[in-house]
């Protein structure tokens, strides 16, 4: 099933994340990722959810979210106009000097940053669209992933359009 990005503004108060997550669980919607953060200068938070759904379900996700009292505005983002980024923090085992060089090269190739260097360990930060992060991980896999933390997608539409 195709992936879709839905962004929505919610009241920034306790329990709202639970209710949103509960809605997805109860209705059996498949979440690929969910990100939340407060909106500057506003009592709202923005949530971005990437879902795996065909169109009837996608429509239901939008409408069921919109129905919640604590959800202020919902929008299915246009895939052709959407900028989407996630952040990856990754710890790599690089005791072997060749592996280390390859790791650094790969991080550089994906415009990542080396954040921490230890005799056996490199920590890097990589941002990009989800498929790019997936690609990066595929490349780095053979070198050795010790630990990783991904944020899920933050997304915004191009041009003079606004969610709120």
């Amino acid at each position: 099933m195709p992936l879709h990005t839905v962004s929505f503004l919610v009241e920034n108060k306790p329990g709202v994340l639970f209710k949103v997550a509960n809605l997805f669980r109860r209705r059996g919607y498949n979440i690929q990722s969910l990100t939340v953060g407060p909106v500057e200068g506003s009592p709202l938070s923005r949530m971005t959810v990437v879902v795996d759904a065909e169109s009837r379900i996608l429509n239901q996700i939008v409408e069921q979210l919109d129905k919640m009292v604590d959800v202020v505005k919902v929008k299915r983002l246009d895939p052709l106009r959407t900028l989407s980024r996630e952040l990856l923090l990754i710890k790599m085992k690089t005791s072997d000097p060749i592996a280390r060089i390859e790791a650094v090269n790969t991080v550089n190739a994906y415009h990542g940053l080396i954040l921490d260097v230890d005799p056996d360990i490199l920590i890097a930060e990589v941002t990009g669209p989800t498929d790019e992060i997936d690609e990066f991980l595929k490349r780095i896999g053979p070198i050795g992933i010790e630990e990783m933390s991904r944020t899920g997608a933050a997304a915004i539409e191009r041009g003079n359009v606004k969610l709120a």
Binding site: E11, G15, F18, N22, R56, Q60, K67, V69, V71, K73
Partner: protein, 560 residues
Amino acid sequence: MTEMTGAEAYVKALEKEGVKYLFGVTGAAIIPICDDLLKSKIRYIGGAHEQGSTHMADGYARVSGHPGVVQVTSGPGATNIVTGLATAQLDSSPVVALTGQVPLSMVGTDAFQEVDIIGITASVTKHNIQVMEAVEIPHAIKSAFYISSTGRKGAVLVDIPKDTQTDKADMVFPDKVEFRGYHPNIEPNSQEMHWAATLLAKARRPVIIAGGGAIASGATMELIELAEMLQAPVATSLMGKGAIPSNHPLSLGLCGMHGRCEANYIVPEADVLLVVGARFSDRTTGSLRGFAPNARIIHIDVDRSEIDKNVDSITRIVGDAKLAIRGIREKVAQQRNTGHTDEDLVKRIKEFKAQSDTLNTSPLSGPEVIRAIRRAMPPDSIVVTDVGQHQMWAAQHYDVRGPGEFFTSGGLGTMGWGTPAAIGAKAARPDLPLLNISGDGSFAMTENNLAIAVDEGFPVTVVILNNGVLGMVAQWQRLFYNRRYSTIQRPKHPDFVKLAESYGATGVKAESTKQIETAIKRSIKEKQTTVIDVPMDPEENVYPMIPPGMGLKDILLGGA
């Protein structure tokens, strides 16, 4: 601004909402509120069990149109209302639940009688709110009433920790509350109404299905006028019963799994189907493949999320059904000559009606008992039902003149709803006789509410269609499991006549329709809570029936 305790503010907020009755069961976490209720004119109706109290609030809400209020304590008091909230929510009934909670400092510690009722009820309420400070109480209560009673109505819960009941604050009582994310009043779109009218005006076989939303919006007059204008027959979902008088020549009655012949034969023939305030429940549609296969569907609903949820529509109107139908009717009138009667259609409906009414006429069959109840009940009266075979017979055969005469637990199908709901309904309309059509299984689930009917002076009549088994499951096992009966035997019932008497009610055993009628009439005349126990054949099936997974036309009329 006045300084007062949270509990005082709570009582004042309820009074400002015009609350007359508070149904509930008390407990430790709401003692401060109970203390302040002593000074109020709000009448508290103490229940035997919180589930019953919630059904009372629900019955009150459905009959009065105003929110019914249930007040319970924390922990088990709160968990016991969950079934009642789900029942109200699924049938879009405005119920406000107020739960005590352990003090905020103890929330999250698994304190005595603490449960996370916000988490537990999130999926069975329209909205819920936990109060975090005393000062929030007036706003939280106002919000609960506003949200539960506007748009698509439903259940709203407010959880009130004990310390916020005793803390003092400068209280402000808002006359109005607003939410950034809640805008219930949607004007039907004029263009959509125009398209709907055009489709209907050109239709050769238009059919209307009316659901609970048609009744909730008070659209029945407009609906009947439109139906007559179009000569469109009107079927109803279970919740829509009463949207058109049963004896109207265009009335098809109940549609779906236990729908009447006229509905299930005529709905699939539609070329344009107007669905008003109904949500295409599986019980109403049967298999979607056999449900109006050639129809272009127009869907009116106040809840946008119902549009295209189960069935795709070609035209959709989001908004109040009454306004939408009024708009459509005006536009149809401009496009179509009206005033004729489709004699052929009326004749066919009449023939199917006769077929539905003669499927089982043996003396104490389900349909005959329902007809006897109808004969005994005065025109101005209310029946509610429990859930099971008796409910379906009632839905099929209890004739009504309009909305407000028949109430039932449709979406959730809550056995045991009837008796407490009847009491709540009686509180809303003390002037009208109230009768619960019940079964032995359903009645036994909440019979303890008879004590409240007797004590509080809300006389209700209960007719138990007593076949000694859980009949609907027995019917499925008979029809689809080759008579392998399992788990349908009830524990031995008490003698329902003596049981009624032990509550101070009247108990009657009635073994003929004549005796049923006599007992009902007496109970109404004497205003006495009465239980009428009617022995029934445990082998009787509800017909018509659409077997699960089949289409409307695959109707079983009998046999087995």
